[in-house]
Symmetry: C2
Subunit: 517 residues, 2 copies
């Protein structure tokens, strides 16, 4: 430990010595930060990817972690996750699932019991070889997903048909090695929930798979105001070890697709690998049928890319840390009166269940604050100055309007604020959902020729007939970077020649192809 | 992956072959489980440790994980954690802290920057050496606690005095290698929250340390109905890297102490190691003063050992997954009427905010159910049979009574059930808290001689004067296995000879000594 001690005393000396020297630099640094904050983000039309990075950092959602591929979810971003979590957790519990917690570390041998599972996940595993200063007898992997360890416990817990269905869910962190990290979308560690269930029959497990998919679709549409399409993955896009994988695919504002939640029917694959069996009513031993399903913190990235614009983030009220921000405006003698009126207004709104924040930072101008809350995507801003106070009103601005004249600022009577704001927030939520659905529909085409297909996936989604062969899917990807996103559940029956190779189509309906995150 | 494929097909063949053979064994196994379930747990008086193990497994709180030292928190145990979490999280947020999420994996070099910190934690670290199939350039450790990685980020985020205080909290899993695992109390992985804050002055950071300690004391007393004593740790029991460590020590029913939450004042130790500095109003650069504080899933073990008895668990209503269980009793034609009345009663209680469960398992006898819910510690049981139904009543039984005649079963009118039950639950919560406080007081003595001391720590806590020297504390531990638990905040000023060595006492007041978990 001598080295560490030296480091520490060296560190202390160095830090103390640097302190005075950095003072001046810090002050200049602060000025620079202010200047940068007043600069707008890269326009979406110029470089969507740069826009995304600008927004997630500038809106204070996230920071890069010190280890490559890792992220720190900052309070503003984490609060969005908490709100999403509360919404989804309520739906999971209401459908009879119970939360539990399983170990982070999994014996490496467990991963190997299901052949496709280990094939899929081996390249992404983090391996623990030492603990307590000694080499472990068997290496442990950090969970990339928990089918294996939960399967092992299910085998122990289930003995009779009376133990079924077993409906479990876990909120946890998982790790998958990531070469090309992207905040929220692809990081080595992320947060998620993973549902794991066991059933007596394939029909029951299939029904559960669809139930979970329905929960995700509801969260995506009702809470996140996203335009999601539920469907089934083609065989090449299935979860490693699943018989069938379902997904909700959502359209981002650059026309790409993002997989926002997946639900897997495992058949008896994991039951066989882990010995998950039960005694039927007639006394015979049977294999269970299992499912798993997950939704992750990438939903935060999806929110950003579904609703954001060149001013920054736009948040649906259901998931907005602050639904309303009150900015008091007043100098000198008026400041105190305005400030206390703002506090009263905020307390009134909070009592009505509206998440309200007063921005009373004294050192910042109203204009700076307006930009700041626009960047952070707060749905409604209320300004309160001496003139409004005298009139018993506040000036309301919406972060975004759509398909209606932008009324700019609107005076609302303070005494009716809770009701008016509740209605405004509901309208804002509905407006975002409609806007996302319209955008998706405007950027989705049914293609019947290869040029149509290629043009379509360059800007959005394409509905096309496909032969269902992997080699053909791979060719399409090579040429256009687009992949088969899903076979939409709601698709009309249709058959014909494959859009690429002309062979007879598979699946009995059109497939959505798109470039994807 | 060929090996895995072989394993899989082998597994499938083996499992299918075993299925028929195991059917008969399974049925016999079920009978054995029933028989075991009807056996009572090891009495506390016979072997407290065996009693604890019997209860945590039989009450379905937890299971052993496949890796040595790991645990699986089962739904019933996890629900207790969720209730505790919601209570504590509300208090943490109400005092201005914000949740965030930091990476699980920490560069090994970070741990080494604070000398005492690495000395304390090095023997407990899990090390990741490989990821994505390659050896990492620098090994990563799985967080045993997050001062280092959060310190690194704080240094980046804090520049001006306006950024202070920075009040963060994280809900997360942490891993510490554990040689002698004990469910909830000592496992290699556990869940916790860790608060991390930065302040301009030592006084502010000290106030924060005490504020967090107060939150823990409130949760322990108000939610967990525990008898906790807030105090300061002696130097030998401080957190690795802290200037001062505070604790709430709680008495278990075997007279041992359990540290139920700790709060640390770090001074400038971590600020120096990570360069957490700020520019003051006058423009000078200064070091921050930091704190950290944590409460963990060991609280579930503490609940078990504070309130449990020879019938099993006893849960305070504030943290009980089910506060009331309704057992419908009726056969044949009466069954349907009783069962639907039970459902109506449960719905009425749930609407009144009372967590209620109807045990309508058809294959089990009322007697079995009564034992089962007693084992699981449900505060109030309601029986509903044809006779009660006709009279418009239910039979109420309390899981435990204390200092009042045990009224056994009591008929309550159904129409007043919500109000009566709410009052019963409040009384039950208060009764448990009073019982725990009385038990603690009855098992705490002030010792003024070594024989008194030795006799006292054999059965409970001892208040004694101590010289404050580590060698003397070590001697006491060797001879009695008791350690210095804390210097109680509320202790009266007192000085005199050390209970062990006779030298002049330190700390200006008595110290609590006890055997501890």
């Amino acid at each position: 430990m001598t080295l560490a001690r030296v480091t520490r005393s060296h560190g202390r000396a160095a830090v103390l010595a640097r302190l005075q020297a950095t003072s001046e630099r810090r002050r200049l640094g602060n000025l620079k930060i202010m200047a940068r904050d007043e600069r707008s983000v890269t326009p979406q039309s110029e470089d969507f990817s740069a826009w995304y990075n600008d927004v997630v950092f500038r809106a204070d959602l996230v920071d890069r972690g010190p280890v490559r591929g890792s992220m720190v979810i900052k309070p503003y971003g984490y609060r969005i996750w908490e709100l999403l979590q509360a919404d989804l957790d309520g739906r999971i519990k209401a459908t009879g699932h119970q939360n539990a917690y399983f170990p982070l570390l999994i014996p490496q041998s467990y991963m190997e019991r299901e052949a496709e599972h280990v094939e899929g996940f081996a390249p992404e595993l983090f391996t623990v070889t030492h603990a307590g200063g000694k080499e472990l007898e068997e290496p442990l992997v950090i969970r990339p997903t928990s089918e294996t360890i939960i399967g092992e416990m299910m085998a122990k817990w289930i003995s009779s048909h009376r133990d079924l269905p077993l409906l479990l869910n876990q909120w946890a962190n998982v790790l998958r090695w990531e070469m090309r990290p992207r905040m929220f979308l692809r990081t080595s560690e992320f947060l998620w929930q993973e549902g794991h269930t066991a059933h007596p029959t394939a029909a029951d497990a299939t029904a559960e798979t669809m139930l979970a998919l329905g929960l995700y679709q509801d969260v995506a549409v009702e809470a996140a105001a996203m335009a999601s399409v539920p469907g089934e993955k083609t065989p090449g896009e299935r979860f490693a070890g699943a018989e069938r994988t379902f997904t909700i695919e959502s359209m981002m504002r650059d026309g790409r697709a993002l997989q926002a939640g997946t639900s897997h029917f495992m058949g008896t694959n994991f039951a066989t690998a882990f010995g998950i069996t039960y005694t039927s009513e007639s006394g015979t031993a049977e294999l269970c049928h299992t499912t798993s399903w997950g939704m992750t913190t990438r939903m935060i990235g999806a929110l950003v890319m579904t609703h954001g614009d060149d001013k920054g983030l736009v948040l649906p009220p259901a998931l907005a840390p602050y639904q309303v921000v009150v900015v008091p405006i007043g100098r000198g003698e008026q400041a105190a009166a305005v400030s206390s009126a703002a506090a009263v207004l905020a307390a009134t709104l909070q009592r009505a269940g509206i998440r309200t924040h007063v921005d009373d930072r004294p050192q910042l101008s109203p204009g700076f604050k307006f930009n700041d809350w626009e960047m952070r995507g707060v749905p409604i801003r209320l300004e309160l100055g001496p003139r409004e106070l005298a009139a018993g009103t506040a000036l309301l601005s919406r972060r975004l309007s759509y398909r209606q004249p932008d009324a700019a600022k609107e005076a609302i009577p303070l005494e009716r604020a809770p009701d008016l704001l509740a209605a405004e927030l509901a309208a804002f939520q509905a407006m975002l959902a409609q806007r996302a659905a319209d955008f998706r529909d405007d950027h989705t085409v049914a293609a019947n020729s290869w040029p149509e297909f290629a043009a379509g996936v360059a800007v959005g989604w394409v509905l096309a007939l496909h032969c269902g062969e992997q080699a053909c899917e791979d060719e399409i990807k090579t040429e256009t970077t687009a992949t088969a996103r899903c076979i939409p559940l709601a698709g009309e029956p249709e058959q014909g020649p494959c859009i690429r190779c002309g062979k007879a189509s598979a699946y009995g309906k059109r497939v959505i192809f798109a470039r994807a995150y």
